[in-house]
């Protein structure tokens, strides 16, 4: 079996995206390979060695309340399906009282704990519903969809992709502690910065749980490079998204991390050192090597960034193809500090959850001579329900896309 095929196999130690009905979560398969999902405990062992995107049926373990094992089941026809037996034409006969379900809550819980499958539980619920037969076809569909969410017997395991990771993280983040990056905003960022797989990128990120690093790394080819500038106020779990992507060691080495503090304070120091005496360099080169390896190990083990000397040197001696700033802090000084690191005719893009911040940045940048094509945007994004005769926009929208400010760095007037 080829290496690429192996990459598509669920492996112990890897991060997975687990999808059960409408919930998605990021999960690392530990040695024990168990997953707690609500009040259920699921043994994932049977999934190891199977290809990603496989679907599994949850089999209750006898004698163990709410414990399940997995059985592979890629047959679409075998999914939860419930037969309906006729329906009403309108809802005029349905009165809303809590007595329409004959089974009591306790009886339903008992069913669940006895190891009954979701399929059977819903069948019992239907048998014991006084109103189900009277509901219209559409209402029945809606009812079943709701029940399926609760009593679904299947789960699917996906290989983590940026698209899936973005969606999972977005639902878990809250302003102002962390920043939720909506998928369309991330998509825009990647386009605005004109992501060239072989390019060199400068990223200042704080608060997205590593989503920006992960998506940039994901878009880079072997010759691309990313410098992540981090703040001393970095969040807990700052590299969650990076870890979730199961990047290879060589991929991880394309990202160099440098702290803002060290750039601002060591920059001058290094300049002076180099001018004064060149002999200094060989002495610390051993140290440098160690430090850059350390950076990688830290990311893997401690989930925390440390400054690599390679990164610091790289930053000092290169011009970059794009600057991305996504953070909780006021970005103005950050953007102004790193803009001169760009080659000419290269883009920068700044995200903020607050329009006011970007408005003042824009106002200031309008007076600069070395930036053009300044744009401040947000987006109107909505999903649509598409069903025969019932197609319409979703009734609730999501307004959390945030704002983007972008432009191109050009020759300033002399």
């Amino acid at each position: 079996m080829t290496a690429t095929n192996l990459k598509n196999i669920i492996t112990q130690g890897n991060y997975l995206i687990i999808n059960k009905n409408e919930t998605y979560l990021i999960h690392q398969v530990s040695n024990k390979a168990t997953l707690k999902l609500g009040r259920d405990v699921i043994d994932l062992k049977a999934s190891i060695g199977q290809p990603y995107s496989s679907t599994f049926k949850l089999e209750p373990i006898p004698e163990k309340k709410r414990h399940y094992t997995l059985v592979i089941c890629n047959d679409n026809q075998a999914r939860n399906q419930w037969a309906t037996n006729g329906c009403g034409t309108d809802n005029k006969l349905i009165t809303d009282d809590s007595s329409s379900q004959l089974l009591s809550t306790d009886e339903i819980i008992a069913l669940k704990e006895s190891g009954e499958t979701g399929q059977n539980i819903v069948e019992r619920l239907l048998e014991n519903s006084k109103t189900f037969q009277l509901k219209t076809e559409y209402a029945q569909e809606k009812y079943l969809k709701k029940k399926a969410r609760k009593y679904c017997d299947f789960l699917t395991i996906f290989k983590p992709t940026i698209r899936l990771v973005t969606d999972v993280l977005y639902k878990q983040q809250t302003i102002p502690k962390t920043i939720p990056i909506r998928f369309d905003t991330l998509a825009q960022i990647l386009c605005r910065v004109n992501l060239d797989p072989g390019g060199k990128y400068l990223l200042y990120e704080n608060g997205s749980q590593g989503l920006l690093q992960a998506s940039l790394l994901n878009q880079l080819h072997d010759d691309g490079c990313l410098i992540h500038i981090f703040s001393s106020t970095a969040e807990q779990n700052a590299l969650r998204a990076v870890k979730a992507m199961n990047f290879s060691e060589s991929k991880m080495k394309q990202m160099l991390t440098v702290s803002l503090y060290e750039i601002l304070n060591k920059r001058n120091e290094l300049d002076i050192k180099e001018e004064k005496d060149e002999d200094d360099v060989p002495i610390c080169s051993e140290d440098k090597k160690r430090k850059s390896d350390e950076a990688y190990i830290q990311v893997k083990k401690k989930h925390r960034s440390i400054t690599s000397m390679d990164g610091l040197n790289f930053l000092k001696s290169n011009k970059f193809d794009g600057l991305i700033v996504v953070c909780r802090e006021e970005p103005t000084e950050i953007v102004k500090t790193f803009l001169p690191y760009l080659s000419l005719s290269r883009p920068f893009v700044v995200y903020s959850a607050y329009r006011e911040i970007l408005v003042s940045l824009y106002a200031e940048f309008k007076t600069r001579r070395d930036v053009v094509f300044l744009r401040l945007t947000d987006s109107f994004m909505r999903y649509h329900q598409v069903l025969p005769s019932r197609t319409h926009p979703d009734v609730t929208m999501d307004n959390g896309g945030g704002y983007l400010f972008s432009g191109l760095f050009v020759e300033g007037t002399k």
Binding site: M1, T55, I72, D75, A187, L190, A363, L376, F380
Partner: protein, 323 residues
């Protein structure tokens, strides 16, 4: 020139974007000599709102430099796919950057992705996708309009994208995609009037290992309904239909009259001509103004995943043991 790698210095034959302001950007071919209507070779001079630009004066300049026009100035920019989309010659309706970004994201494109696209149209999306999947990926793009397919092919070649883009004339609703892409694609994208007819061919093009993505762009909801039905009938999962419009804001310095000025007694009309007007107290502020007539609709994007095909579970396990 090559559209797929940044370069620094402008040379003969390059394409550059002449940027005067966001409303006035032009893609120009850097050719010092052109033929005029009479077929004579003449010096290439471009006329802009702010006067003339001698094209040969661009040689040796850096992308991103400022250039003088006879009555003003402009910048010469590198033709990124985003700027190309804004300035390309329209042969059809095109897809713009906000939708393009979503399409590429939802199709999960990255270096190495193999994409099948139809129709090619003006190549707006194709350029962006090519940039995103290079250097190891490939875009196979089809249009049934011979002249358009031909023109696109020439454009990709002159933009140095021949290694990344293959363009062909083909009616994909009738004949599907080429055999050589069967089972190879990571993603399929459709922007044509009857995407639902192409769904079965899309399945053939997608990798059989499953997890392949499809995206269709349709301006009309009726097309979306037919597409979703077809996707479902053919076993696609995780159907999503989304629309996304970019809203742009201007940031402007504005002033408003204060309450104090408004509540003063009105000036006396019969007073002497040179009576001193009481000083007005205006309030200055930075306004954030949405564009007055933004795009209200482009198209609906429908995406779905092709699931893993039914296969006996043991097969895979045995293969691992052989490793």
């Amino acid at each position: 020139m090559s559209f797929n790698r940044y370069k620094d210095i402008i040379e003969e034959g390059d394409t550059v974007i002449l940027y005067i302001n966001p409303q006035a950007m032009y893609a120009i071919q850097v050719q010092s000599i052109i033929e005029n209507r009479k077929g004579e070779k003449v010096e290439n001079v471009m006329q802009t709102k702010y006067g003339a630009l001698k094209i040969s004066s661009l040689f040796g300049k850096q992308f991103g430099s400022k250039v003088n026009l006879s009555h003003g100035w402009a910048y010469v920019l590198y033709p990124t796919p985003e700027l190309w989309t804004q300035t390309l010659p329209h042969r059809t309706q095109i897809i713009y950057t906000p939708d393009i970004s979503l399409i590429m994201f939802m199709l999960e494109l990255k270096p190495g992705s193999i994409v099948v696209e139809s129709g090619t149209g003006s190549g707006s999306l194709t350029h962006s996708m090519a940039f995103r999947v290079q250097p190891t990926g490939h875009i196979y793009t089809y249009d049934f309009h011979e002249q358009r397919a031909d023109q696109a092919q020439k454009e990709f070649k002159s933009h140095g994208l021949s290694d990344i883009v293959t363009s062909q004339c083909r009616d994909v609703c009738q004949n599907g995609f080429c055999d050589k892409v069967s089972g190879k694609a990571d993603a399929v994208f459709l922007d044509l009037p009857h995407p639902h007819l192409v769904i079965p061919f899309a399945i053939k093009a997608l990798k059989p290992s499953g997890g392949g993505r499809i995206c269709t762009f349709s301006p009309c909801i009726e097309q979306v309904i037919r597409t979703c039905q077809a996707l479902q009938d053919h076993g696609f999962v995780h159907l999503k239909t989304v629309e996304c419009l970019e809203k742009e804001y201007q940031v402007l310095n504005r002033t408003v009259t204060t309450f104090a000025s408004a509540s003063r007694p009105p000036p006396v009309a019969t007073g002497p001509q040179n009576a001193i007007e009481p000083e007005r107290e205006d309030k200055k502020f930075v306004a954030c103004v949405p564009s007055t007539s933004p795009r209200g609709h482009t198209g609906y994007l429908t995406t779905a995943t092709y699931p893993v095909e039914n296969q006996p579970p043991q097969m895979v396990k045995i293969e691992i043991k052989c490793e």
